[in-house]
């Protein structure tokens, strides 16, 4: 029987935009997308896609579904996991989902998983690079009543037994668990693969399977935010850097040391 993995993926503003180009609209509490920089799939979620692909590379019969909820999807970005090798892309795409909080996101994800599942393994990135809350997938595990192991850097599958390496501050833990199971994946797993030409061609032929909020059995009253954003702003930096300049770069280094000593920092 085919082993079914669902990878949760989120569309985010490109985090590589330099801080000087990062702007917010304080009247709507939203980020102003920088000109010409399209959104991307959250980097940690691509690590999770990579984790699923590595399991399949090991010769197992695995189907990989990528699931996302939101609105105004940039299809070029969202198809990247397909180009990397994932089999299906399922989107819950509804204008009602444009500004939902994480509790509502968990509700929609669990409804979509109930409709499209069951899955043996639910994977996602350790956190998203936009709101950085790092808990949607943890909440999802709680709501689905499934065990959860976070911060995975390596995983091996033997039937329904999963052996995991979980990153801790100064090393890692080896953890064993049985499917169905929820895992969050961290960048220590390694870089997501680049799509090859064949992958890109296949992805371009595939269509996303799209559900509305109603399709997954929910309505607008189910997704009222309970954590409301009041103000989004860029912190002011009043710090004026004091540049230390010497006769040459080596002299600058020496003068820096003397200055830090004067200031009792060393």
């Amino acid at each position: 029987m085919v082993f079914r993995i669902v990878v949760l993926a989120k569309q985010v503003p490109d985090p590589e935009v330099p801080p000087s180009q990062f702007k917010v609209d304080e009247s709507t509490n939203s980020v102003i997308p920088p000109n010409g920089v399209p959104p991307v799939v959250n980097g940690f979620d691509l690590n999770a896609v990579e984790a699923a692909l590595r399991l399949r590379d090991s010769g197992l019969d695995i189907e990989i579904t990528v699931l996302s909820v939101g609105s105004e999807f940039a299809m070029d970005a969202m198809k990247k996991p397909l180009a990397m090798g994932a089999d299906r892309l399922v989107l819950v795409d509804d204008p009602l989902l444009s500004q939902i909080d994480s509790a509502a996101t968990v509700k929609v994800l669990s409804a979509a998983i109930a409709k499209d599942g069951p899955f043996d393994l639910i994977l996602g990135g350790r956190q998203a690079s936009d709101w950085d809350q790092a808990h949607v997938i943890i909440g999802l595990a709680e709501v689905l009543g499934l065990p959860l192991v976070s911060l995975i850097q390596k995983l091996e599958l033997d039937d329904d037994l999963v052996t995991l390496q979980r990153v801790i501050p100064d090393g890692y833990q080896v953890i064993s668990a049985r499917c169905p199971l929820v895992l969050t994946v961290t960048n220590e797993l390694g870089e997501p693969r680049y799509p090859n030409l064949r992958g890109i061609m296949q992805a371009s032929r595939k269509q996303a399977e799209i559900f509305t909020l109603e399709d997954v059995g929910l309505s607008d009253t189910d997704i009222i935010p309970k954590l409301e954003i009041k103000k989004l702003y860029i912190p002011e930096s009043n710090r004026e850097v004091q540049l230390i300049e010497g006769e040459d770069e080596a002299d600058s280094g020496k003068k820096l040391a003397l200055r830090l000593h004067e200031e009792k920092l060393i």
Binding site: V31, Q133, I138, Q173, I175, I229, P235, G253, L256
Partner: protein, 318 residues
């Protein structure tokens, strides 16, 4: 009155960690707080003088639960249902990052992570947290009567007040069926000072160009009795182990002196080190963001600046 349940952790030496004392300061930002501290693990003697009303200890900790925390989640869930706090505070540690959201979703209440500020505004709780990799801050208002919050380490000063709390043991009457178990813990032995405890950190980034230069950083850190750190770019490139990573997804550090060498100063890195007392930048790109965050800087090639800096520091120290 605001009833606050604060989940505190002990450090490796078994004493109550600084983050727990910082969380007491955070709790005191709320209106008329009545604080209960829960401690997972053996109670350190210092708890008997904490400036709080009640200390509850959860004495038995199953080693195989550490890292998964299913039993801990259930124990704290039970305590919440006994104490009925308005706010539950955790520190954003390995433990808090996992247990706090689980507890929140089990209770069906709002969760906010990594908060730097907390206050009561017109009867609601308002928190401030970094978003978009630290590029922006956001204020959120909690719309439920109960909430679970994790606090960013170093955002509040540690409480120095004392008190005379009641101290009780909490004995759980629910034993969780462990669905995942820890088979082994591999500690990568690290020499010298821990990043989190270091007064001086010498950190390297993409601009170093490879793994070898980190040996110069180690030399400098040794002379300054500090620790070596790194940006995510340097760790992801495999130049240094991820255990050295400073930033939003690495360690949050608060040294007196943070020397950033070849680090551009991306927001997600600064999120881990911006609470340093002084940041010093050495970078050849005068336009890089690190110079907007640093107090002192040298624009130049680290290969020329750093050896001269190291030798001058050696002279000062000898």
């Amino acid at each position: 009155m605001t009833s606050v349940l604060l989940v505190g952790e002990c450090d490796d030496s078994g004493s109550l960690g600084q983050p727990a004392l910082q969380a007491i300061t955070a709790a005191n930002r709320l209106t008329d707080p009545e604080i209960t501290v829960v401690i997972v693990g053996d109670l350190p003697p210092s708890v008997s003088s904490l400036p709080v009303g009640l200390v509850l200890g959860i004495p038995k900790v199953d080693e195989s639960d550490i890292g998964i925390y299913e039993q801990a989640t259930t124990d704290i869930f039970q305590i919440i249902n006994r104490v009925h706090p308005d706010v539950v505070l955790f520190n954003k540690s390995d433990f808090g990052s996992l247990v706090a959201p689980r507890v929140a979703f089990r209770l069906g209440v709002v969760f906010a992570s990594d908060c730097m500020e907390i206050s009561n505004v017109d009867g609601s709780i308002v928190v401030t947290r970094p978003v978009f990799g630290g590029s922006a801050l956001a204020d959120f208002e909690v719309a439920t009567t109960q909430s679970v919050i994790t606090l960013r380490p170093g955002s509040f000063s540690a409480s120095t007040e004392t008190g005379n709390p009641s101290v009780e043991e909490f004995i759980s009457d629910v034993t969780v069926d462990q669905r995942a178990s820890v088979l082994d813990t591999i500690e990568e032995s690290r020499e010298g000072v821990r990043l989190e405890d270091a007064n001086v950190i010498v950190s390297g980034g993409r601009g170093l160009g490879g793994p070898e230069p980190f040996s110069v950083l180690h030399d400098l850190a040794n002379v300054l009795e500090g620790a070596v750190g790194a940006s995510r770019a340097a760790c992801d490139a495999g130049w240094i182990d991820h255990a050295y990573q400073v930033g939003l997804t690495g360690k949050s550090v608060t040294p007196d002196l943070y020397i950033a060498v070849g680090i551009s100063g991306a927001s997600q890195h600064m999120a881990g080190c911006s609470s340093s007392r002084a940041i010093v930048a050495i970078n050849k790109d005068a336009d890089s963001n690190i110079f907007k965050e640093a107090r002192y800087g040298v624009v130049g090639d680290w290969e020329k600046v750093l050896p001269a800096f190291l030798s001058a520091v050696r002279d000062i120290k000898s």
